[in-house]
C-alpha cells in the first residue's frame, strides 16, 4: 500500500515537471493599439474681428484727418456688408457772424478785476486814527533835597552864655579845673538850645516846612572836633550819647538816645530818622556828651561847627516855601525831564500795504495832560515841549505848553505828508519853582507819590481827510489793466473772402467806480485788424454818479481778409488817476479822499457793436478757383505724406473684383444757390479726378477723372449733403442724390498705391448781403464739398475666370525675424514657421520605431455664415512630396468634413521642415458677405484621432529587434 502511494506521488511529480516545459525568455513583445483622441478646440472667426471700421479707416488714411469718418452703411438697399467712407473735402462758412460773435464775446468777457471771485477791484485808504497814553514820573523832591543840602549853612555849635554875653566853646576840657570846667565839667551832660535852621548863608529860609515821608533821614556831620597834643599822656575824647531836635516851644521833634559816636578827626556823623516828621525852618538841637581825659596845658583844640544834610533816600510828601535858583541866586533853575518816545506803528492799518503817502487835509494830534493835585501847588512852573515826527513824512513841533494850566493840547497836521513809516511822539517837561509865587504866597508842592510827580499824557492821532493819496497798484493788476483779445482769422476766410464792408464798429464801456470826483480814468482802444486807435478819459463829476459810460466808434470802413494778419485783434488799456511808475512800481494818486475810504473800480460792461453790410466772396486761386487733394502731399509738419496704398488687396483678391464701389461727390451751399438764382450768375464748375500707381514701376501713374476732364470742367449742381454724425458707427439713411457719382471699383480693382483724390473748382465773384443770410437756416451759409465712398464687401469672380483663389499661405506662415547667431548684432535673418508652427523638423524615428502602423484622422465640423462657399486645398509642391493634394469643401451651411493622414504621410509631414504646402481658398461663386447684424463668421471645431498600432519585439539575446 505504501509503495503504491509513493509510486503515485512520484509519477505525479514527473508529469508536472514534464508538462511545465519552462524556458528562459529570449524576447519580449509589446502589443497595443490605442486610439488617442483629442479636440483642437473651436475656432470662431468673425468678420468683425478682422474687418472693422477702424481697419478700413487705417487703410484709407495713415494720418489723422479731421472729419474723415468710416462707418457701416446699412439700409434696405444693401445686402452685403458695406462700409461708408466720408471725406469732407471743403467746408467753408461765409457767415462771418461767427467771427464777429467771437470778437464781441471776447470783448464782453474781458475781466479787469484782479480777483475772479470779486466783480470789482478796490483800494482801501488807511484810516489813521490811533490813540496813545503814557505816564512820565518826575522825581522833583530830589531837586528840592539837593537845593536844601547845597544851600543850608553849617550849624554853629558854640554856646552863648546870655548872662556873660560870651561865646565859649560848649565842650569843656576835662583837664581844666577852672570855672568852665567846674560849671560844665562833669564828665557827662546835655547840651541844648543850639539853633538849627534851613537857611542859607544869607539867613534866607530854604524851605519853610518839609513833611518827610518814609525812609527819610537827616545826617549831622561834625567837622574836626578835637585836636590833642600829640604828646599828651591823657588825650581828650568827646562822645555824643544822644541827639535830637526841639521846636521853639521845646517840644521834641525828633531824637535818638542810643548813640555812641566819638568825635574824632574823621568827620563823624549822626543820623536822625525823620520818617513822617515835619521839619520847620528853625528848630533846636539838643544832645548829650561824655568827655574823658585832657591836659590842662596846652589846651586841646576843638571846633564848634557841624553840617546838616538830608539823605538822598529821603522822601518828601510836601514842601512849602522853597525855591530853585541857580548859583547866582537870581535865576530860576530849570529842571528837565525827557518824556519817553511814543511810537505809532502804521503797518497794521488796513490798506497800508497798498498805501504809499498822502497829504493831510484834515488831521491833528490831541493830547490831554494829567498832573496830580496841581490845584494845591504854588509857585511851580511846568512846561512841555513836544515833537511829532515820521521819517520822510510828518514833522510837527509844539513848545512851552504850560502843564499847570493846559489840560488839552491839539496839534494840527494839515498839509503834512504822511507815509507808511512809524510815527514817533517825543519831548521833555521843564519845571521851575519860585518862592513866593505869583500870588505872593510861599511856594508849595505836594507829591502824590512820595517825592514823585506822575505826568499822565493821553493822546490821539486822528486824520480825517487827504488832499491827495498815492496808493500802489499791484503788479498782477497792471496786466489786467492792459488786455488784448485775438480771434483767429479763419484760413477759409482768407481763401474765399475778398472784402468785408462794415457800417459800424463801436465799443462802449460802462464803469462803476467810487473814485472821488474829478479823478480821471483813461481808456485806450486799439485794433490793427480794424485800423483803430482811440483814447479818452472819464471821471465822476457828481457824488450821485457812480456809473460812467462812454464809447469809441468807427463807421463805414472795409477790411481785406487776405491782408489781415493771423488774428482779429483788440487791445484795451485802462489808466487809473495820475498813474505813475516809480522804481518799477505803479502808483495811482487819488485826490480829495477821506481817510479809511474804500474805493472800488469795476468795468461793468463792454458793449461792442460790429455791423457789416457786405461780403465779397472770391476764391484766391487763379481765376477765382479753389482746389485741393486727399491725402495732402505734406502733413502739418511739412513731412511728405504718401497716398492711399491698397495694393495689398492684390495679394488676396486674385481673380476677385469689386463690382461697384460708388464714389458720390456732394457740393452743397443753399447760400450760393440763393444768390446765384438772384443774380443769375453761372455758378460753380470744376473737376474731380484720382491719381494713383498700379505698382512700384508705374512711375508716370494713372489718372482717372470722375467729373470733368483734363481739358474741360463740368458744371456742378448744388445738392443736399447727407447729414453724417461723426460719432455714429452705422449709417442707415438713404443717401441723397449727389452732384456727381462715379464707380470707384475700377480703381480699387487696380489695387492702387499712392492713390489721391484731387479736385479743382472755379467760382465767380459773389456778393453776400446780410439779408441773404437772414433768410437761410442754420449752416446754410456754408459751402461744402464731400466725397462719400460706398464700399460693399461684394466681390465677383473676374470675367472670363471660372474661379478665384485666395492664397492663405501668407496668413498661415508668418515670418519672424530672429537675430542670426553668426551675425549677432549685425543683422537678422527671417525664420519661417511652417504649417505646424515649427522652425525645425521633428525627429520621430525613435517613435515610429515602435509603431507598426499609425494614422491621424482629422474631423472638421463647421458652421459657415460667411456667405462664401469654397474649398480649402492643400497641395505640397515639393518634389519628394508624399502628400497627395487634399481638399475639403466648405459649404454655405453647417457640415462636417474628414481628412485622414496615413503613417507614410504623417512621417513625411513630421520629418519635413518646412512643411509649407500651398494652402488656397478656392472660390467658385461670387462673394457677398452679409452685414454685421447677421454675424458673418465661420465656426469650426477640429477633432483629431491618432491611431497607433504597436507591435514591438525586444530581443534579449541582442540579435536585433523587430
Amino acid at each position: 500500500m505504501k509503495n503504491k502511494l509513493y509510486f503515485l506521488l512520484g509519477l505525479l511529480s514527473l508529469f508536472m515537471i514534464i508538462s511545465c516545459n519552462f524556458q528562459i525568455p529570449q524576447k519580449i513583445t509589446v502589443k497595443t493599439s490605442p486610439t488617442v483622441k483629442a479636440s483642437a478646440g473651436t475656432v470662431d472667426l468673425k468678420v468683425e474681428d478682422f474687418i472693422t471700421v477702424e481697419k478700413i479707416k487705417d487703410m484709407v488714411s495713415k494720418t489723422e484727418v479731421e472729419g474723415l469718418n468710416v462707418m457701416e452703411y446699412k439700409n434696405s438697399n444693401t445686402e452685403a456688408m458695406t462700409f461708408l467712407v466720408h471725406y469732407p473735402l471743403e467746408k467753408v462758412s461765409f457767415d462771418i457772424s461767427e467771427q464777429i460773435s467771437q470778437i464781441q464775446s471776447s470783448l464782453e468777457n474781458m475781466n479787469f478785476t484782479l480777483d475772479s471771485e470779486s466783480s470789482s477791484t478796490s483800494f482801501q485808504i488807511p484810516d489813521i486814527n490811533q490813540s496813545f497814553d503814557q505816564t512820565t514820573t518826575v522825581e522833583l523832591s530830589a531837586s528840592v533835597i539837593e537845593e536844601i543840602n547845597n544851600g543850608m549853612k553849617p550849624i554853629s555849635l558854640s554856646y552863648y552864655d546870655e548872662g556873660s554875653g560870651i561865646n565859649i566853646g560848649f565842650i569843656p576840657e576835662t583837664g581844666r579845673t577852672d570855672y568852665y570846667s567846674q560849671t560844665f565839667g562833669g564828665l557827662e551832660d546835655e547840651i541844648s538850645h543850639i539853633k538849627f535852621s534851613m537857611e542859607n548863608d544869607e539867613d534866607e529860609a530854604l524851605a519853610e516846612k518839609i513833611i518827610f515821608g518814609e525812609n527819610s533821614k537827616i545826617i549831622i556831620t561834625f567837622d574836626q572836633i578835637v585836636s590833642n597834643n600829640p604828646e599828651s599822656a591823657n588825650p581828650y575824647t568827646v562822645e555824643i550819647t544822644s541827639f535830637g531836635l526841639r521846636d521853639a516851644e521845646g517840644n521834641v521833634i525828633v531824637q535818638n538816645t542810643s548813640i555812641s559816636t566819638e568825635l574824632t578827626d574823621e568827620n563823624p556823623q549822626i543820623v536822625l530818622d525823620m520818617s513822617n516828621i515835619t521839619l520847620p525852618t528853625v528848630s533846636y538841637i539838643f544832645f548829650g556828651i561824655r568827655t574823658k581825659g585832657g591836659d590842662p596845658t596846652p589846651e586841646p583844640l576843638h571846633t564848634t561847627t557841624a553840617r546838616v544834610s538830608i539823605s538822598e533816600t529821603t522822601t518828601i510828601k510836601e514842601v512849602t516855601g522853597f525855591s530853585l535858583k541857580e548859583e547866582d541866586g537870581e535865576t530860576d533853575t530849570i529842571i528837565n525831564y525827557a518824556i519817553p518816545t511814543q511810537t505809532i506803528d502804521l503797518s497794521s492799518f488796513d490798506g497800508i500795504d497798498m498805501f504809499k503817502e498822502a497829504e493831510i487835509e484834515d488831521g491833528n494830534i490831541t493830547i490831554n495832560f494829567d498832573l496830580p493835585d496841581v490845584e494845591n501847588w504854588n509857585g511851580i512852573n511846568a512846561f512841555l515841549n513836544l515833537s511829532v515826527e515820521q521819517e520822510n513824512g510828518l514833522n510837527v513841533t509844539q513848545t512851552n505848553v504850560n502843564l499847570i494850566t493846559t489840560k488839552t493840547l491839539t496839534i494840527p497836521l494839515n498839509n503834512q505828508i504822511i507815509n507808511t513809516n512809524s510815527i514817533t511822539i517825543s519831548g521833555n517837561a521843564q519845571f521851575s519853582v519860585t518862592n513866593p509865587g505869583e500870588d505872593g504866597n510861599p511856594s508849595k508842592i505836594t507829591f502824590e507819590e512820595l517825592g514823585k510827580i506822575a505826568i499822565g499824557i493821553v493822546g490821539n492821532v486822528d486824520i480825517n481827510k487827504f488832499s491827495t493819496a498815492t496808493v500802489k497798484i499791484p503788479s498782477e493788476y497792471i496786466s489786467k489793466l492792459q488786455q488784448t483779445q485775438e480771434i483767429e482769422v479763419p484760413a477759409d476766410l482768407k481763401t474765399w473772402v475778398k472784402e468785408i464792408a462794415f457800417d459800424e464798429l463801436s465799443v462802449e464801456f460802462e464803469i462803476d467806480t467810487t473814485l472821488p470826483i474829478n479823478n480821471e480814468i483813461g481808456l485806450n482802444v486799439t485794433s490793427t485788424a480794424f485800423d483803430l486807435d482811440d483814447t479818452f478819459s472819464l471821471c465822476r463829476t457828481d457824488e450821485s454818479i457812480t456809473t460812467l459810460v462812454d464809447k469809441i466808434e468807427k463807421t463805414n470802413f472795409t477790411i481785406l481778409p487776405r491782408e489781415l494778419g493771423d488774428y482779429f485783434d483788440f487791445s484795451i488799456g485802462i489808466t487809473l488817476p495820475n498813474q505813475t511808475e516809480v522804481d518799477g512800481e505803479t502808483y495811482t494818486t487819488i485826490s480829495n479822499i477821506t481817510s479809511g475810504e474804500n474805493i472800488s473800480f469795476q468795468v461793468k460792461k463792454i458793449t461792442p457793436v460790429i455791423n457789416w453790410n457786405k461780403i465779397i466772396v472770391s476764391p484766391d486761386g487763379e481765376m477765382g478757383s479753389f482746389s485741393g487733394m486727399y491725402p495732402l502731399e505734406t502733413d502739418e509738419n511739412g513731412e511728405a505724406v504718401s497716398g492711399i496704398d491698397i495694393s495689398v488687396l492684390g495679394d488676396y483678391l486674385k481673380n476677385l473684383e469689386f463690382n461697384e464701389v460708388s464714389a458720390l461727390i456732394y457740393l452743397s451751399s443753399p447760400l450760393f444757390e440763393e444768390i446765384m438764382s438772384r443774380t443769375e450768375e453761372s455758378g460753380l464748375s470744376g473737376k474731380v479726378w484720382a491719381t494713383y500707381k498700379t505698382d512700384e514701376e508705374d512711375l508716370e501713374g494713372q489718372t482717372t477723372y470722375f467729373m470733368g476732364s483734363a481739358e474741360d470742367e463740368a458744371l456742378v449742381n448744388f445738392v443736399e449733403t447727407p447729414v453724417i454724425d461723426q460719432n455714429t458707427t452705422i449709417y442707415t439713411e438713404a443717401l441723397p442724390n449727389p452732384s456727381a457719382k462715379v464707380n470707384f471699383a475700377s480703381i480699387l480693382n487696380a489695387h492702387p498705391m499712392d492713390l489721391r483724390l484731387n479736385y479743382d473748382f472755379a467760382l465767380d465773384e459773389i456778393t453776400i448781403l446780410p439779408e441773404d443770410l437772414e433768410t437761410l437756416s442754420e449752416n446754410a451759409a456754408e459751402l461744402k464739398v464731400d466725397i462719400i465712398l460706398l464700399l460693399p464687401l461684394e466681390l465677383n469672380i473676374a470675367e472670363g475666370m471660372s474661379n478665384a483663389e485666395i492664397d492663405l499661405s501668407q496668413f498661415i506662415y508668418p515670418s519672424e525675424s530672429e537675430e542670426s547667431e553668426e551675425n549677432s548684432g549685425e543683422g537678422t535673418e527671417e525664420t519661417v514657421k511652417d504649417l505646424l508652427g515649427r522652425t525645425e523638423p521633428i525627429e520621430i524615428d525613435e517613435i515610429t520605431e515602435f509603431l507598426k502602423d499609425f494614422s491621424v484622422s482629422l474631423e472638421f465640423d463647421y458652421e459657415n455664415n460667411l456667405g462664401i462657399a469654397c474649398s480649402v486645398v492643400m497641395e505640397d509642391t515639393a518634389a519628394n512630396s508624399k502628400i497627395p493634394k487634399k481638399e475639403f469643401s466648405i459649404r454655405k451651411t453647417a457640415s462636417s468634413e474628414k481628412i485622414k493622414l496615413t503613417k507614410e504621410e504623417m512621417e513625411y509631414v513630421l520629418k519635413t521642415y518646412p512643411f509649407a504646402p500651398d494652402l488656397k481658398l478656392l472660390i467658385t461663386d461670387d462673394i457677398k458677405i452679409p452685414s454685421f447684424d447677421k454675424s458673418p463668421s465661420i465656426k469650426m471645431t477640429v477633432k483629431m484621432a491618432v491611431y497607433a498600432d504597436v507591435d514591438y519585439t525586444l530581443d534579449l539575446t541582442g540579435n536585433g529587434e523587430e
Binding site: K2, T29, S39, A40, G41, L45, E54
Partner: protein
C-alpha cells in the same frame, strides 16, 4: 503582516503546537523556518518562463479586472524553541517579516491599450506600500479538562487548550498607502488636462538622512506590544474547534522619522483649445497691425508644471498597530483517523490599510482571510497537506509535505498564489516554505 502567514503555516502545517488541530510530537523542540511568496493577479509564471514574453496590452485591458494589475511580495524567517508537556506548553520565538504590494490601475492599462474617449476622464490611483517587522514573542499554553464524570463513572470531560502569546513587534520601515494619482481628460471643446501626483512617506525608527548603522539599535526601542490568544475545544472525537484572536493591541509601535517624497506634474490646454489660442494670436496680430505695436508676449497654449520637492527628512511620530484578527478554526476527521483531516478557517481582519487596495471589499478597515486545508497523515512520520487559502489578500494553492522523525522534523511546502482566485491555480505567483525542527 506576513508573520501571520508564518504563524498560520507553523500552526496549521508544520509546527503543530498541540491539541488535535495542530498536534505536536516532541516535548522539546527548536527550529527555524523560511517562507517566501510573490504573486500577481494576471500573469502566470509560465508567461515569463517562455521563449517570448508577450505583453499584449489589448488582451491585458480586456481580461484584467477592475482592480488593476497587482503585485504582492511577502517573506519571513523565524526561529523558535518550544517545550510541550502534557498540560503546559512554553515557547519563545524570533521572527522577521516583510511584505509589500503595488497596484497598477486598470484605467492606465486601458489607456495604453485602447486610448481614450473624448470627454471621458481617465483617473485612478497607483497603489504601493509595505512594512517590515521584527517580532520577539513567547507563548504559554495549558490544557485542562472541562466536563464531568457521570453517575455511571463515564468520563465526559474534554481537554481544552488555551494558549497566550505576547509579542513585541518592531517595525523597521512602514510605507502606508501613498497618495499617487493619475488623471487625463481630453474634452470636445479642446481642453486637455493631464496630471500625475505622487506623495510617498517612508516611516522608520531612525532617520535615513545621514544614516549611521549605530542607529539600528533604535529599532528595538520603538516597538509595540500585542498578544495572540487561542483556544481549542474537541467537540467530538472527530472534530476540534478553535478560535484565535491575533495581534490584540496593547501598545503601538512608534516610528519617529519619516522620509517624504512629493512629485507632481501637469500639462493642460485651456478650454479654448489650440485653435482658440491661434485665433487669439490671429486677432492680436491683426490688432497690432492697426498700430498698437505692443510687445508680443511669449505665450503658449500648453501650460505645463512639474514640481518635485526636495526629499524631506522629518521628525514626525506615527503609531503603528498590526492588523487585528479574529479567526475561527476547525479540524474535522471524517474517517475518525488521521488519513484525512479537513481544516477549514475563516478570519476577520481589521485595521489593515492595505485592504483598501487588495481587500475583498476595498475598505481599509476590514478584510477576510479564509480557506481550507486538506491534510493526511498516513504514517506518524509522514504528513501531506493541500491548502486552498486566502491569506493577506493573496489566494494560495499549496502542497505541503512533512517528515517527522521525532528527533528531527522537516517541513516543506510549495504552491501557486495570486491576488486572483482563478489565477491562483494558474501559477501567477509562487510561494514556498521550509522549516526544520529538532527535539525529542
Amino acid at each position: 503582516m506576513k508573520k501571520l502567514i508564518c504563524i498560520i503555516l507553523a500552526l496549521s502545517i508544520f509546527t503543530c503546537v498541540f491539541a488535535e488541530i495542530n498536534p505536536t510530537s516532541r516535548i522539546f523542540e527548536f527550529g527555524f523556518g523560511l517562507n517566501a511568496g510573490v504573486s500577481n493577479n494576471y500573469f502566470a509564471i509560465s508567461d515569463f518562463l517562455t521563449e517570448e514574453i508577450v505583453l499584449d496590452f489589448n488582451e491585458i485591458s480586456d481580461k484584467l479586472s477592475n482592480n488593476g494589475l497587482r503585485l504582492n511580495l511577502a517573506g519571513d524567517a523565524d526561529f523558535f524553541i518550544n517545550v510541550n508537556t502534557k498540560k503546559l506548553k512554553f515557547g519563545v520565538f524570533v521572527n522577521a517579516d516583510i511584505d509589500g504590494y503595488s497596484s497598477i490601475p486598470k484605467a492606465l492599462m486601458d489607456f495604453v491599450a485602447k486610448g481614450n474617449t473624448l470627454d471621458v476622464p481617465m483617473e485612478d490611483e497607483l497603489g504601493i506600500g509595505g512594512t517590515a517587522y521584527g517580532v520577539i514573542g513567547a507563548s504559554v499554553g495549558w490544557k485542562f479538562k472541562v466536563g464531568f464524570v457521570d453517575e455511571y463513572d463515564e468520563d465526559t470531560r474534554k481537554a481544552v487548550a488555551i494558549k497566550l502569546t505576547p509579542q513585541y513587534f518592531m517595525p523597521i520601515f512602514h510605507v502606508p498607502n501613498p497618495q499617487n494619482s493619475l488623471f487625463l481628460k481630453a474634452s470636445s471643446n479642446g481642453a486637455v488636462t493631464a496630471s500625475a501626483n505622487a506623495d510617498v512617506s517612508v516611516y522608520t525608527p531612525f532617520s535615513l538622512e545621514n544614516f549611521d548603522t549605530g542607529e539600528i539599535a533604535s529599532v528595538f526601542s520603538s516597538g509595540g506590544l500585542d498578544f495572540t490568544v487561542e483556544a481549542e475545544y474537541p467537540l467530538f472525537k472527530f472534530l476540534d474547534l478553535g478560535v484565535r484572536v491575533s495581534n490584540f493591541p496593547l501598545k503601538p509601535a512608534k516610528l519617529n522619522n519619516v522620509t517624504k517624497i512629493k512629485m507632481s506634474a501637469s500639462a493642460s490646454i485651456d478650454e479654448d483649445g489650440v485653435l482658440g489660442y491661434y485665433q487669439d494670436e490671429l486677432k492680436s496680430s491683426s490688432e497690432e497691425s492697426e498700430g498698437e505695436e505692443e510687445a508680443a508676449e511669449e505665450s503658449s497654449f500648453v501650460e505645463t508644471t512639474y514640481n518635485m520637492d526636495e526629499i524631506q527628512y522629518l521628525t514626525e511620530e506615527t503609531s503603528i498597530y498590526r492588523p487585528f484578527k479574529i479567526a475561527f478554526l476547525a479540524s474535522y476527521r471524517p474517517l475518525n483517523n488521521n488519513l484525512l483531516i479537513l481544516k477549514p478557517m475563516i478570519s476577520f481582519k481589521f485595521k489593515d490599510p492595505a485592504s483598501a487596495y487588495n481587500g475583498l471589499f476595498g475598505t481599509a478597515n476590514f478584510d477576510m482571510d479564509l480557506g481550507i486545508t486538506v491534510e493526511s497523515r498516513p504514517l506518524k512520520i509522514l504528513r501531506f497537506s493541500l491548502d486552498m487559502l486566502r491569506e493577506e489578500a493573496v489566494w494560495k494553492q499549496q502542497f505541503g509535505f512533512a517528515l517527522d522523525l521525532r528527533l528531527m522534523e522537516l517541513n516543506f511546502a510549495i504552491g501557486s498564489e495570486s491576488n486572483s482566485f482563478i489565477k491562483s491555480f494558474t501559477g501567477s505567483g509562487l510561494t514556498a516554505g521550509l522549516s526544520i525542527k529538532f527535539g525529542f
